[in-house]
């Protein structure tokens, strides 16, 4: 009897062994092993109040399921985050969602690599321009909207691409991601954003003294060269503003370097003082420039012959514009324009003059020279853009990255400005004299321009997020101090019209979550496995009759199954 029982048990054991192995293979083969959670850096849309109205994304924390643009129509997205790569962006769709205030859990925009600093990006030029314009349009839409859910930007990489492909696959099947079906969960655990208290704007000025003749008691005339260095964009942690106004800052530093070389030797020191100004608060109607000018001594202000403001001179081919507020017939304006035109002609550059009257009652200041003009100082802005930008437009946003700036354009711009200034200072107007000739000791240094441009393209410079002792501001100060006699910093508080909120960047965690149905299925499988095991053991050790007897009468001991 023992023999037959053993052989019967032997056969039963073989069968159960096969079934267990089969079960294991089914479980493993059905679903592939999923990756661990991915974590990527994300950058939040700016949140600010302007004159009491709220703009930007009002929330920071995120804890929702991910959905793609291929979601089934009519799906409820109020608990889902839409992941949209820029290449597939349909701007009317986003505009509709935002303007009609449709409920959404969050938005995550994926930007192509060309907008980040690290990638060299040798894509086709056509595609670059298209994406740049699309991104500029998207930025303007997001900045001026009040969005009651978190909006984040991230750069495309392999991890997020595979996740997105998976999400699209799930959406195509028609399974909207909710708590009961599996999918990806995007979690950003940040606290609620708080106001930035007393945002400071810091103006840096460098003073290069001219040569005073013996016995000359009069104040030497001054020429001011100004550029604003701060930016404003949809994602403050990414607003590096390579062209607006990184190009202007770099040009100013290079001009300062060249003139410091000239002025270091008393024999070549000109009879003009040079005042270099790196101002902040540019996007906010050049608030910093206004405060800087107001802090001047009356005498100093009157001694300024004229001021040249540099803005966006990094991506032009052959044409630059000089914007003025005084009418072109004005003698001073004529002099400045002629000086620039002569040099430009020699360099094969076309320079045009744009005149726009200022309206004192209108607080909008589109270009920096207008702040000078309001205080009756002759000034002009040199720029590659012919039209006047709107408020918070063209202030160095997401699309303004290193890829779109050309060092040679900046180099030529520097040469143009430096030559024109030098001819005015040394009285060589109209003469064909090359002071900053290429190849000479005073040549414009492209390596200097490139290294500073690279640095600027990696440093986000939104003024409220730059503290008083920010390392970058200190670096600018030190650089200007190297090239000038005297450097001063002026700290001011940004006007009360604007209020900013912090929490500009975060870390996004992507979890792959299993659905409830999976857990229930697993429970079912485990339950049946344990029951099978139980019955198998009872049969083999105690015999089949025992098993049947368990069900016939109430068991004396509680049967332990899961």
């Amino acid at each position: 009897m023992a023999l037959s029982k053993n052989s019967g048990g032997h056969r039963g054991m073989q069968e159960s062994m096969y079934s267990v192995i089969a079960l294991v293979f089914i479980l493993v083969a059905c679903v592939e092993l999923c990756d661990a959670a991915a974590a990527i850096d994300v950058y939040r849309l700016i949140q600010y109040d302007m004159s009491g109205s709220a703009y930007g994304s009002r929330f920071a924390a995120l804890n929702h399921h991910a959905a793609s643009l291929h979601f089934p129509p009519g799906a409820d997205l109020s608990r889902a985050v839409l992941v949209i790569p820029l290449r597939e962006l349909n701007i009317t769709f986003v505009r509709e969602y935002i303007n009609q205030k449709k409920p959404l859990g969050g938005l995550l925009f994926l930007l192509p690599d060309i907008f980040s600093f690290e990638n060299g990006g040798n894509k086709q030029v056509h595609e670059k321009e298209q994406l740049k314009n699309l991104l500029a349009e998207l930025e303007q839409l997001l900045i001026h909207a009040n969005i009651p859910y978190p909006v984040y930007f991230a750069f495309e990489n392999d991890e997020i691409d595979t996740v997105l492909a998976d999400i699209k696959k799930n959406d195509a099947i028609g399974q909207p991601a909710t708590a009961t079906t599996g999918g990806y969960k995007l979690v950003i655990p940040t606290p609620e954003p708080k106001k930035v208290a007393s945002p400071t704007i810091t103006n840096i000025q460098g003073w290069l003294s001219g040569l005073k003749a013996d016995g000359d008691t009069n104040q030497l005339p001054t020429i001011a060269i100004v550029a604003s260095y701060d930016t404003f964009g949809a994602a403050p942690a990414l607003s590096v503003g390579s062209d607006s106004n990184g190009s202007g800052v770099v040009a100013l530093l290079e001009i300062a370097r060249l003139f410091s070389l000239l002025y270091s030797n008393p024999k070549t020191r000109g009879r003009y003082n040079l005042l270099f100004g790196l101002t902040s608060g540019g996007p906010y109607n050049y608030n910093g420039t206004q405060k800087w000018l107001r802090s001047f001594d009356q005498r100093l202000r009157e001694s300024i012959d004229y001021a040249i403001c540099l803005n966006s001179i990094g991506s032009w081919d052959n044409e630059l514009w000089i914007h003025v507020s005084k009418p072109p017939e004005n003698a001073y304006i004529k002099q400045i324009f002629e000086g620039f035109s002569n040099v430009a002609e020699e360099m094969d550059i076309k320079v045009g003059l744009k005149h726009k009257k200022i309206n004192i009652s209108n607080p909008r200041v589109a270009r920096e020279h207008e702040q000078f003009s309001r205080l009756r100082v002759t000034a002009a802005t040199l720029s590659e853009i012919s039209t006047a930008p709107e408020l918070l437009q063209g202030t160095g946003g997401l699309y303004d990255s290193r890829q779109f700036v050309n060092e040679t354009a900046i180099t030529r711009g520097v040469k143009l400005v430096a030559e024109s200034l030098a001819r005015h200072i040394y009285g060589h107007q109209g003469k064909n004299v090359q002071i900053f000739a290429d190849g000479g000791s005073l040549a414009v240094n492209p390596a200097y321009i490139q290294s500073w441009l690279d640095l600027l393209s990696q440093t986000p410079r939104v003024a409220p997020f730059l503290s008083k002792n920010d390392p970058f501001v200190m670096a600018l100060k030190k650089e200007l101090a190297d090239h000038t006699d005297e450097v001063n910093m002026q700290h001011e508080v940004l006007e009360g019209v604007f209020t900013f909120y912090d929490s500009t960047s975060a870390r996004l965690n992507i979890y792959q979550v299993a659905s409830v149905t999976f857990d229930l299925l697993l429970l079912l499988v485990l339950g049946s496995y344990l029951i099978v095991l139980f019955s198998f053991l009872v049969i083999t050790t105690r015999g089949l009759d025992d098993l049947i007897s368990l069900f016939r009468r109430p068991p004396s001991r509680k049967v332990k199954t899961a």
Binding site: A2, N6, M13, M17, V20, I21, V24, F25, L27, V28, V31, L33, C34, A36, A37, G52, S53, A54, R58, F59, A61, S78, R79, K101, P103, N146, P148, A179, T180, G182, K185, V187, E192, Y511, Q512, V513, A514, V516, D519, L522, L523, L526, Y529, L530, L533, F534, S535, F536, L537, V538, T541, R542, R557, V559, K560, T561, A562
Partner: protein, 261 residues
């Protein structure tokens, strides 16, 4: 976050920002979010529960299904579990060795296991239980202690997390394989040390099988680290070998039992 904003909205009065929040989030949506969050938290506990029953269920089932429960061999199992904990402590103190000695050390650790089992089988005073049940009880206690020591903590910490991995289910399957291995090792151990009259031809086979089963841990770690097998493959291998070793030791056990019965 949502609660705070709604409450602050109620307290601070209808400011512009708060009124926007109130418009977009109505009370029913808040309720649904609460419910959803509770579900998610329960789900992660659910997964933990599933993996726990996969890891520890078979032990309970084995105890209750076989005649062990009728003979009340719980004491034996508990004692065996304690002996396992003792050997585990000894193993911990042996763990700092260099890489060249790693394999040798692992083999030594395997034999510490065997020594512990020997101690549990022979030295502990059991109540009058038959040979048949003694080794099962010892093996069961041994495997249960092993699972608790090595798998409970990672399970508690990991399986309740948000991210889903297959690791814990595979770990549970590994626990099952380990149970079978422990019982077969205990069976072979009892054959070696407790049974006096063994057929001469089978003795070398018994010792060979015992050696294989004892060195199983080092074999699996070599597969994982040396050959770079993935976890599911290793677990499959463990299940397969444990079942085959169980089968072989069953045959040996019944072969040894035949002359006496």
């Amino acid at each position: 976050m949502i609660y705070k904003s709604v409450f602050s909205g109620l307290i601070e009065g209808p400011k512009q920002i708060q009124s926007n929040k109130n418009k977009t989030i109505c009370s029913s949506q808040i309720q649904i979010e609460n419910w959803g969050q509770k579900i998610r938290r329960k789900m992660t506990m659910f997964h933990f529960f599933n993996c726990a029953i996969l890891t520890f269920g078979p032990h309970a089932v084995y105890y209750s299904a076989t005649p062990l429960s009728e003979y009340d061999t719980l004491g034996t199992s508990v004692k065996a579990a304690l002996v396992y904990l003792g050997t585990a402590l000894v193993k911990v103190s042996e763990n700092d060795g260099f890489d060249p000695y790693q394999e040798l050390l692992k083999a030594v650790i395997g034999f510490i296991d065997v020594a512990g089992l020997y101690f549990a089988l022979t030295q502990l005073t059991h109540r009058n239980i038959s040979q048949n049940h003694k080794f099962q009880a010892v093996g069961l206690g041994w495997a249960f202690a092993d699972s608790v020591l090595h798998r409970l903590a990672p399970l508690w910490v990991g399986a309740r997390g948000l991210e889903f991995t297959w690791d814990f289910i595979l770990q549970g399957l590994e626990a099952n394989a380990n149970l079978v291995l422990s019982i077969s090792l205990a069976a072979l151990g009892s054959l070696m040390w407790l049974r006096k009259n063994k057929p001469k031809t089978l003795i070398p086979i018994i010792y060979a099988c015992a050696g294989i089963v004892a060195t199983m841990p080092s074999i699996t770690s070599y597969l994982r680290r040396g050959l770079g097998w993935h976890f599911p493959k290793v677990v499959g291998f463990e299940l397969f070998t444990s079942l085959s070793m169980a089968f072989i030791s069953w045959q040996l056990f019944s072969a040894c039992q035949r002359p006496s019965s």
